[in-house]
Amino acid sequence: MSDMTPTAAPERAADLPAQSPPVDPAETAKADAGARLSWWRGDGGEGAKRNLGLLATLVVLVVIGILTRPDLYGDASWVWGNTLTILKLASVVGVVTVGMTFVIIGGGIDLSVGAIVALAGVWCTTVATQSYGAGGMIFSALTVGLAVGVVNGLLISYGRLVPFIATLAMMVAARGLAAEISDKQTQVSNDSFINGIATVKLLGIPLLVYILAAVVAAGWVLLNRTTFGRRTVAVGGNPEAARLAGINVRRHTVLLYALSGLCCGIAAIMLTAQATSAQAAMANLYELDAIAAAIIGGTLLSGGRGTIIGSLLGVIIFSTITNLFAINGLSTEAQNMVKGGIIVAAVLVQQVQFRSLSQFLTRNRATTT
């Protein structure tokens, strides 16, 4: 090896041009643009691009609607009415999905949401509860949702059960309890205030849509602007790092499931109002809808990343698909089969779009610098 060292005379690249300054102004400008975009996601441009992909998907669905039923889409008032129908359809699952999004970002999963909605719905429509009036019914639905969520959280964080197992068990148990309480009967809601929640309109828009908007807005603020949201991302993104930074990971986990339960309580009131009744089988498979919507919306199943806006778009895409089948008079069986395919397609399309879009942006930047 001795022949190596001295032979090559040190050829020094001293004639290289002057170094570029470490921070070039164009770069800073780009970062600023990213910051301006960030209201859309709250923490960076990547999510914004993904959400644009979702919007594009939504546009495609509407175009399919226009192509298949040009007669209906020619009527402006029908289009407005149909939009409200889609949003109303999205409202209950949407509220559940907001809670689910927090749980998934926090590194968990909640399979019991549908069952919690059913239990809370059944609990608030028993004869005894209804005797306390609308206030009593709302209070009991929210309390039941919250309490079941807390139990989930305690089992997972202090009982050290895997979230999948703990909430699967809760799913079975809560539906069982709901069937027990209702004696497998449909419980009719006689409270006109509760039933009115589903029918009242403000400025021509159903109250249910306002409730969804309020929950989404609250969820967005909670995730992007509060210490609670910051902890959620930390706990899901790297639990060990969160713990070593002094965050109480266990307590926060309990709070996340409690939040999901609370959302289920709200959803239970909305769903009971829509059906003017509650039963143990209600909100069937809501867990799947909520998880699928969150994932399509860009929430990472492994935790640490996700957006409320993305989840909302995911839910709206789902209800638009359902609506598309309804206006074309197709059966729900066909609908379910196609829906599964569309979940896969949407994710694929979104990935491709996302990749090519970011490549496109990168290339643009390279040319502008």
Binding site: M1, T5, P6, A8, P22, E27, V233, A234
Partner: protein, 531 residues
């Protein structure tokens, strides 16, 4: 060192580890890079790199954090594709589409960030992607045997090939990634800061292996921030600055340090430790640890840290230093003994209690223990303090960014934009984020586990300065480092640990490097691992 746990005999033969490729002529240029450019969104990571590597040499890459060293080797390893420029590998233009292609061409890489699969065994990791097969079945016995051979040659016959990588300590994982690189028939082995997680004697072992490899005509690209290592093992040096080659093929042994540093940084930096204050600065007792014990990790450790004092712990990897620090911090629960802060006993096993009492800890493994890789830099810096910038539970991103900016400036973080995701930072810059986190807020006692791992010469001096200034403001510091000179240079008082026990305690001025090394030797790598 004892033989393998399963009683099987270890073959320690002298046959070459990697078959020397017959057609390799020593001294011939095997790799040549011309004007290689690689950009990421908003960053020109490589901006015209020249590099020439010869068979049988150890070619060192030097450069500050973020200079582009890791990006360069990822281009060579087929992880990134260059935007422009030419890579000539053994006389032919090469563009490796993926890591497999580079491996097939004979380039093996040990990455800066460990890339092992935690839930696979040591042998499965070593042969990941090129398992020996017969009729489509993996030859497990053969694979285990080959792994055992390689581990023995690496000086670690005690690591069982069947053990899950998850259960190895950090240094053990580094050995496994080295074994992986050696399991290929490579003509070029690239090592990106392999010594960062190795203790002193391990580095000696590594150098022995490197000499064996180069004697067979295999080329090695070696990256390290420690100039002494480059002097010892290197043949030629190429220096990168801001993605460009600023000097190529300098002789590694006799280029003056001043020259190397000024080519790396564009200025001259004195690699010195800040002065200790003239009068004894230490104030009231801050931390007192008594009889702390965790079986199999450390036993009966007692120590104290006073306000304004820097206490260093020296010892081998596996001597229980990191475990001790984590136990003091409450991340592990002690089986016996107490930890008191300012006279009050802390609840064992509660990080929350320790943080409330004013402790902060920069842990050993930045990726798994400290960082949210997808989150912006500023959120990582304020991970422990964002609550303080918040009002009524609402976070204040503006104030957090301003605070993170100050930290970024004082630690020379690059790029300086704190809204970038931490994932896009170079290894050394990620380390600065981990340490910077605890420079915010009102930490009274700072526990630092390998704070300068992967940090370049210039930034290291800055970091030492910052730590000294903190101490001058009355913060107590408990420092763990594998680099003995760092412990001796920075600390006021030094504890030497061996096999989980404190074997010596003395003011830093009364110890020298050789004394400490003599004290810490005879430790074994596997002792830190749970059974």
């Amino acid at each position: 060192m004892s033989a393998g746990n399963d009683g099987e005999e270890i073959e320690v033969t002298n046959e070459p580890l990697v078959e020397a490729p017959a057609d390799t002529v020593a001294g011939e240029v095997v790799l040549r890079l011309t004007d290689v450019v690689k950009t990421f969104p908003g960053v020109r990571a490589l901006d015209g790199v020249q590099l020439e590597v010869r068979a049988g040499e150890v070619h060192c890459l030097l450069g500050q954090n973020g200079a582009g060293k890791s990006t360069l080797i990822k281009v060579l390893a087929g992880v990134h594709r260059p935007d422009s420029g030419e890579v000539v590998w053994r006389g032919e233009p090469a563009a490796f589409a993926n890591p497999q292609a580079a491996m097939r061409a004979g380039i093996a890489t040990i990455y800066q960030e460990l890339d092992l699969v935690e839930d696979l065994s040591v042998a499965e990791n070593a042969f990941l992607g090129h398992e020996p097969r017969r009729l489509g079945f993996v030859r497990r016995g053969h694979m285990a045997r080959r792994t055992r051979q390689i581990l023995a040659r690496l000086g670690h016959p005690e690591i069982p090939p069947g053990r899950l990588v998850r259960h190895l300590p950090a240094a053990g994982k580094q050995i496994v990634s080295m074994a992986r690189a050696l399991s290929h028939e490579a003509r070029l082995i690239i090592m990106d800061e392999p010594s960062a997680v190795l203790a002193h004697d391990e580095v000696g072992n590594l150098f022995r292996i490197i000499r064996e490899l180069t004697a067979q005509g295999i080329a090695v690209i070696y990256i390290s921030h420690r100039l002494e290592e480059i002097r010892e093992i290197g043949d030629r040096v190429t220096v990168l600055k801001d993605g460009r080659t600023t000097a190529a093929n300098l002789p590694a042994r006799d280029t003056p340090t001043r020259d190397l540093v000024s080519r790396m940084t564009g200025r001259t930096i004195e690699y010195v430790f800040p002065d200790r204050p003239a009068d004894d600065p230490a104030g009231a007792e801050l931390l007192r640890v008594e009889g702390l014990t965790r079986h199999g990790e450390f036993a009966d450790v007692s120590l104290d840290v006073r306000a304004g004092e820097i206490v260093g712990i020296a010892g081998l990897v596996g001597s229980g230093r990191s475990e001790l620090l984590e136990t003091i911090y409450g991340a592990r629960r002690a089986q016996a003994g107490t930890v008191r802060m300012g006279g009050r006993t802390l609840r064992p096993g509660s990080v929350g209690a320790a943080v409330r009492a004013g402790m902060g800890m920069a842990p050993e493994e930045r990726k798994s223990q400290a960082l949210l890789l997808g989150e912006p830099i500023y959120r990582n810096v304020t991970l422990a303090t964002f609550g303080r910038y918040a009002r009524l539970g609402f976070t204040d991103a503006g104030r957090e960014r301003a605070a993170a900016d100050r930290i970024a400036a004082s630690l020379e973080l690059r790029p300086r934009d704190v809204r970038r995701p931490v994932r896009t930072l170079s290894g050394g810059n990620q380390q600065k984020v981990v340490v910077g986190r605890w420079l915010l807020g009102d930490t009274r006692l700072l526990l630092l586990d390998e704070p300068t791992r992967g940090v370049d010469v210039g930034a290291r001096a800055e970091l030492y300065q910052v730590i000294r200034e903190l101490a001058a403001r009355g913060v107590g510091v408990l420092l763990v480092s594998s680099e003995v000179p760092e412990v001796l240079g920075l600390a006021d008082r030094v504890l030497v640990m061996r096999e989980g026990r404190v074997v010596r305690e003395a003011p830093a001025g009364e110890l020298d490097e050789n004394t400490v090394l003599d004290l810490v030797m005879a430790g074994s790598l596997m002792e830190g691992a749970p059974a």
